[in-house]
């Protein structure tokens, strides 16, 4: 390990940073004698936050940023003139181990440009994971990004060492993908996804029969979609996500607001700023799918293909469906409580737990954490101040205006805040 590695680390972290996934979630595994590390499950641990506000949980890095492909949206495409570097397997392994020992990271998130051919590259990624597990007895988190077009054998081997595997869809519509990344097609993405799924499911079944059967990517898989580089609507994107979530091992779809890295390429829009508000709305919609029991066609459909940038998708749904309101806080079932703007998963649970003791009123709801400023138009409860009118009395349009952020007060809509009540 020497100063040389410093320069490489800088280059290869900068090349890796546009992949938004960083979570170390999905596996609980305690230590065993002779090993280093554990994984804590839940959301994983964010060890730091970069100045762009994003969580740093894993050492997110590329093995190399040389690439034989020329994907238009990617900083590392072969036609770009930028500093290139390649880590040796042992350098990467040592970096991971030493960062981990200092509590900087939860583990490694490794991807790579394609050198020579997909399998050659994939094999080197697998080597890093294998060395970490078998030579260095590393028991922390490993996320490997599978190389598009890699063979089934290598994906299968990767699954033995990694907690999570991912293949990025990047562009939802195949014709757009082919336009921007001529060397890729949907098959190169969806085939490895399927190998991963089969591997995970088979290993689960085996492990029920034999306790010591090898694990296969116990934290499942994730993927990423680039937002705003092509013409897809939010409906196109969310229908894809919803279809992916219906597959048994897909844990997360990440949305990455397109950063104009290759401004010279006329196939791409020249964005001054990445579409961060849109990205945030997509994440909120994604939460509605995963935790709020919404169906995708309730969030977007042909007559409403794009999310409202000014208000969150849950409020937007409620305003389009005033007939479901007001909801009686002391009677409504959990699923309906979840649909009330201003009530999040946590407060819905607290409401259900507390109302067995006594009927809840305005004051208790506020204390529990319900955002009453929003919820007041959509509920009835004990002691609701008389002057408050419901969405039906006022009209959805009026409530929308009342709830729009005042232009004076600067609300930062770029953050992933789940402001429909978390």
């Amino acid at each position: 390990m020497n100063e040389n590695v410093l320069a490489k680390l800088k280059i290869l972290a900068e090349s890796a940073k546009y992949d938004v996934s960083c979570s170390s979630s999905g596996t609980v595994r305690s230590n065993k004698p002779g090993l280093l590390g554990n994984t804590v499950g839940g959301w994983g641990i964010c060890h730091s936050f970069a100045e762009d506000g994003r969580c740093i949980s894993l050492l997110k890095i590329m093995l190399t940023n040389y690439c034989i492909y020329d994907c238009a949206y990617c900083i590392n495409r072969r036609s770009n003139d930028l500093p290139r570097a390649t880590f040796s397997v042992s350098e990467l392994v040592e970096l991971t181990m030493e960062f981990y020992r200092r509590n900087y990271i939860e583990g490694l998130f490794l991807s790579s440009g394609v050198v020579r051919n997909p399998d050659y590259t994939m094999e080197r990624l697998v080597r890093v994971a294998k060395d970490l597990r078998q030579v260095h007895r590393f028991n922390g988190y490993i996320h490997l990004k599978s190389i598009p077009g890699a063979s089934r054998e290598l994906v299968n081997e990767a699954g033995l060492y990694a907690d999570r595997l991912s293949v990025n869809v990047e562009i939802p519509k195949e014709e757009n993908l082919k336009l921007l990344a001529p060397e890729k097609d949907h098959k190169s993405v969806f085939a490895p996804m399927k190998y991963i799924q089969q591997g995970v499911l088979e290993s689960k079944e085996e492990r029920q029969k034999f306790r010591h059967a090898p694990r296969f990517a116990p934290a499942g898989q994730s993927t990423q979609v680039i937002v705003g580089a092509t013409s897809e609507s939010d409906k196109d994107i969310l229908f894809l996500s919803s279809a992916l979530y219906n597959r048994p091992t897909m844990k997360r779809v990440y949305y990455s607001g397109y950063v104009s890295v290759n401004t010279y390429d006329k196939r791409l829009p020249a964005l001054k700023q990445p579409p961060l508000v849109r990205e945030n709305r997509l994440y909120q919609a994604d939460w509605l799918l995963r935790f709020y029991q919404f169906k995708v066609d309730e969030i977007v459909d042909d007559s409403y293909p794009d999310l409202d940038l000014e208000i969150d998708p849950k409020l937007s749904w409620a305003l389009r469906h005033p007939e479901h309101f007001p909801v009686d806080i002391n009677k409504a079932d959990y699923e309906m409580l979840l649909r009330v703007p201003g009530i999040g998963v946590k407060s819905a649970k607290l409401i259900v737990a507390s109302r067995r003791f006594s009927r809840l009123g305005f004051y208790e709801l506020k204390k529990i954490g319900v955002v009453m400023k929003k919820a007041q138009y959509f509920i009835t409860c004990k002691e609701l101040p008389l002057q408050i009118q419901t969405v039906n009395e006022l009209s959805p349009q009026r409530v929308r205006t009342l709830l729009l952020p005042k232009s004076k007060k600067k609300v930062d809509e770029r953050q992933l805040v789940l402001d429909f009540g978390e």
Partner: protein
């Protein structure tokens, strides 16, 4: 107004509950020795901490609420907030007097407030797991300093012991001046007294002369990574500070110059 004086220990608090039921008068305020007394009060009782009495109250409580609610009480106690003693006292009293468990009645202000304090202490436990940074010393021990808002370090010992099972480490609470040392076998409490405090225990940072030969390089590597991973087009200092509050920066490797 009834006043109880106790020694600000958790056992003392439980003993106070025992005394109150025995005397059939309940305190309106819990003070510790040396606190200023209010001008007017009706009764003053000094609690003598008694492990047996405390244990009886605890056993009684075990029949009334779940073990996770009990964990919530002991964990909230670590907040060291001035009001937490009286809050726990009232909670225990309500739990004992109620025919069914009160622990999910969040419409009760005491239950809710305790849950909120618990959440704060738990948040500090998570902050420790996130932001503790080890520096490797020449003798191979990994050293970290921290100033937790609440006394949450004990809640993380299990996690660090499990995770860093094959390295010796010390995590030191600079504010409360005690810490934990893991010697590859077990974890013990340590405390350096003022006279013997070495310089790294004053600054929280190892002096270069005490560092492992590669420590400096790895710190540099981490700082380099921290800068390189940031997307300039998305810079968002507000969120940066919100998720990684400035009060932790003092000992964060990536925030050192």
């Amino acid at each position: 107004m009834n006043i109880y004086i106790y020694d600000k220990t958790f056992d003392g608090l439980l003993t106070a509950v025992f005394d109150a039921y025995f005397r059939k008068t309940f305190p309106d305020e819990l003070l510790s020795e040396g606190d200023a007394l209010p001008l007017f009060y009706d009764e003053l009782h000094t609690v003598v901490t008694d492990e047996e009495k405390a244990a009886r109250v605890w056993r009684g409580l075990q029949k009334k609420v779940s073990s996770s609610a009990l964990g919530c009480l002991t964990q909230s106690w670590l907040s060291e907030l001035p009001e937490v003693g009286m809050l726990i006292f009232r909670y225990i009293r309500k739990a004992i007097d109620s025919p069914r468990s009160i622990e999910t009645n969040f419409a009760d202000p005491d239950v809710l407030q305790l849950a909120q304090i618990w959440k704060k202490v738990d948040g500090e436990r998570v902050h420790l797991m996130q932001f503790v940074r080890f520096q490797k010393a020449a003798d191979g021990t990994f050293f970290a300093a921290f100033e937790p808002q609440f006394n949450a370090l004990p809640l993380t010992v299990h996690h660090f012991k499990d995770r860093f099972a094959d390295q010796k480490w010390i995590i030191y609470d600079m504010k409360r001046r005690y810490g934990f040392y893991y010697d590859l076998q077990e974890v013990t409490t340590i405390s350096f007294d003022d006279g013997s405090r070495e310089s790294h225990l004053i600054t929280g940072m190892l002096d270069e002369s005490l560092m492992d030969k590669d420590e400096k390089l790895f710190q540099q590597l981490w700082k380099t990574y921290f800068k390189a991973i940031c997307i300039k087009e998305r810079i968002n200092p507000r969120k940066h500070r919100q998720d990684m509050p400035v009060r932790y920066w003092k000992y964060l490797t990536e925030k050192q110059r």
